[in-house]
Symmetry: C2
């Protein structure tokens, strides 16, 4: 592949061929895909992208895959101008990038999995797997079904039941591990050392993570080839924020935009905020925490890319903020009531943090601000219990309607 030079260690810079490996043999740093941007620049143009498929594969020239094999409809989700929410927050150019309707499994994970499993098929794997807080498991199971791969998904045993059924329907083997996500992840790393399985977020991680760049690419294209002034995104492992930033920089590098001064803001749940805590305390390292939050999809206590996410906010002059469980539920409701978009707890965290940032003056009124909504509210319905209005029960008669409903209007 002319566009991909290989892998490189983020820590010591040692280079490797583009194989299913993820850790530097010398310093144990994480490996990252390195591109030949001069070569890419020759092949890419706004017009070519606009003529491309209505999916994330319109950006294949800056993705580490030769040919899409799976996830052909993933990505290219709506960017919605949020007039109503903008009014509440005093922002005139607020946008929601809405991956709650991503294809096929309703979260941004369909992006990373499409790329990871296309690569896994290229590598010749016949079995795929993941360590997941739920959304990733849904997506891996769905895409393995498409691709005809054997599938094993590993989740914390205490996950929301909705998300478990959202995996089981695709008939993978679902392994419920008694422990936190971090326990699940550790176990999967051990398994990946022993078996030739494509763990999308372990040994395939360098390729997998690149899929998140499309969240930057699409927003810039949808804004009319303009980088936003600020973006707010949730952080679990920290990979998403790191890759949004990489994507924005790449668009400038290959000449698709001339300017990029985007500030990147990170959102974490107060009950699992190791990256935000490091930022507050001025640390450049992460102290692992034990998660205690309803936002299970972002409850990673020992985030693999936490330090790189910190670097992004520093380099971009962004910031971090956290939300309590109560604020997360309020965030879900605020987005629903103003914009008609139903997100899960991770999206509630993003909206709660966006609100706090707006209230403390992080954005100028006219700035173009994009909030990333990464998953669908149907996946975490149970958190709404006791927090929404109740239904009103009536008999099917006009008189009962008048007596029980009309009097309240």
């Amino acid at each position: 592949m002319a566009k991909v030079k290989g892998l490189r260690c983020r820590e010591c810079g040692k280079e490797y061929p583009a194989e299913p490996i993820h850790v530097c043999e010398f310093c144990f740093g994480p490996l990252e895909v390195v591109y030949d941007y001069e070569e890419i620049k020759k092949n890419i143009s706004r017009e070519k992208i606009e003529r491309g498929p209505k999916s994330l594969w319109r950006y294949i020239d800056i993705l580490p895959v030769e040919e899409p094999k799976v996830g052909l409809t993933a990505g290219y989700t709506p960017l919605k101008k949020a007039e109503n929410l903008g009014k509440v927050l005093g922002l005139k150019n607020l946008y929601i990038k809405d991956d709650s309707v991503n294809h096929p499994t309703l979260s941004f994970k369909d992006r990373v999995v499409s790329v990871a499993l296309s690569k896994a098929v290229e590598f010749g794997f016949d079995t795929a797997a993941c360590a997941s807080t739920g959304n990733l498991a849904n997506s891996v199971a769905a895409h393995c079904a498409q691709a005809g791969l054997n599938c094993f998904v590993f989740i914390p045993a205490n996950l929301e039941s909705q998300k478990i059924y959202g995996s089981l329907v695709f008939s993978p083997t679902v392994v419920a591990v008694e422990g936190t996500y971090d326990d699940v992840n550790r176990l999967c790393s051990e398994i990946a050392n022993e078996l030739y399985w494509a763990f999308v977020n372990i040994n395939i991680r360098p390729y997998y993570a690149e899929g998140s760049k499309t969240l930057a690419f699409e927003v810039v294209e949808q804004l009319g080839w303009r980088a936003p002034d600020a973006v707010v995104a949730p952080a679990a492992s920290g990979s998403l924020i790191t890759k949004i930033w990489k994507g924005l920089k790449e668009l400038k590098l290959v000449g698709l935009i001339d300017e990029m001064n985007t500030r990147v803001y990170g959102a974490q749940a107060e009950g699992c905020s190791p990256i935000a805590q490091a930022w507050r305390e001025g640390r450049d390292y992460i102290k692992p925490v034990k998660p205690n939050t309803i936002a299970k999809s972002i409850a990673i206590g020992n985030p693999a890319d936490g330090i790189y996410a910190l670097q992004v906010t520093k380099e971009s002059r962004g910031d971090w903020e956290t939300a309590t469980d109560e604020e997360i539920i309020e965030g879900i409701k605020l987005l629903a009531e103003t914009e008609g978009i139903f997100t899960e707890t991770a999206g509630g965290t993003t909206i709660a943090v966006l609100k706090k940032l707006a209230e403390r003056g992080a954005f100028k009124e006219d700035e173009v601000v994009v909030a990333y909504i990464t998953g669908n509210g149907y996946k975490t319905l149970e958190v709404l219990e006791g927090h929404v209005k109740e239904t009103i029960r009536i008999k099917p008669t006009l008189s009962d309607f008048k007596e029980k409903i009309l009097v309240r209007v």
Copy 2:
């Protein structure tokens, strides 16, 4: 509006101005929007549509709305070539039109509601409402939040809890009526006579129903401006099938396609199949039934457009077929396991019926067949209980993994 001539009674042909009315004063027949196709033909072209927004509003020239006011991201969902499912069914050109990821509320109802509420805003209503089996309620609640309209949704009290929360999050008044959908619908008709509310599927119904035509328009465009040989769609009120057919005919009328020989097949749940029963018995009228099926979203015992749906299958040389509850669940699983798409009971009905039709030779191997998937599986999760594999619980150790999982592989 030059493109819209007005409304016309489907039964006696009497004409009316384009107002919020739905029943003929003389014969009580339903009213339908009538267009000036010569005028539309002058303004429309494939190129203009392709340059339009990536939503159903790219077809505004054949919709009864002046300007979109709400639902700006609805529609334009993926059309997926179903290679795996096609192999199972012996079909080389099978496609899934996937409204399980429609924006924002994950069903085809986002199409009809976008059109209905844009029209309601045009008419000056400040309150919108609907009688719903769940999906419509979700969509009306979401779009009312966007548009700042007061919202009342009426549902049968025994609805899936998932779908109720999927409405409540947007803060409408949810009225749970003790009775079937048909009872709910009757009550809402009475209320619509007394109050100046925009009931999207009652007094706004002529405009609302037009939104379903976009399911025909998009499929034809996504197939490269070619009408499919056959389509399979679920039937509740019968409106969807009627409007898919109207949309296909319109594309030919306005010159966007030269040929249209599509056969339309209707799918109903065995436990609520008044239209399919009429077809089997050669009747041109509907005998209402009392629904008894897990496919609650299509459980309409007295379908308003049933006789028109029958006419469509007759005119198009299509057919009807039904699926039992067990077959519906198998249909959900078959689509998930082959194509990685998770649909609800209505989609399970469609797939089960598609399978039966294929098995009895309704399609030639090479024909282009499109199955309409109208809603998302997250909305009816509870039907999967006891019908999918179980999770396997392990301790977070390699030895437990080997003992409990690896031995099974």
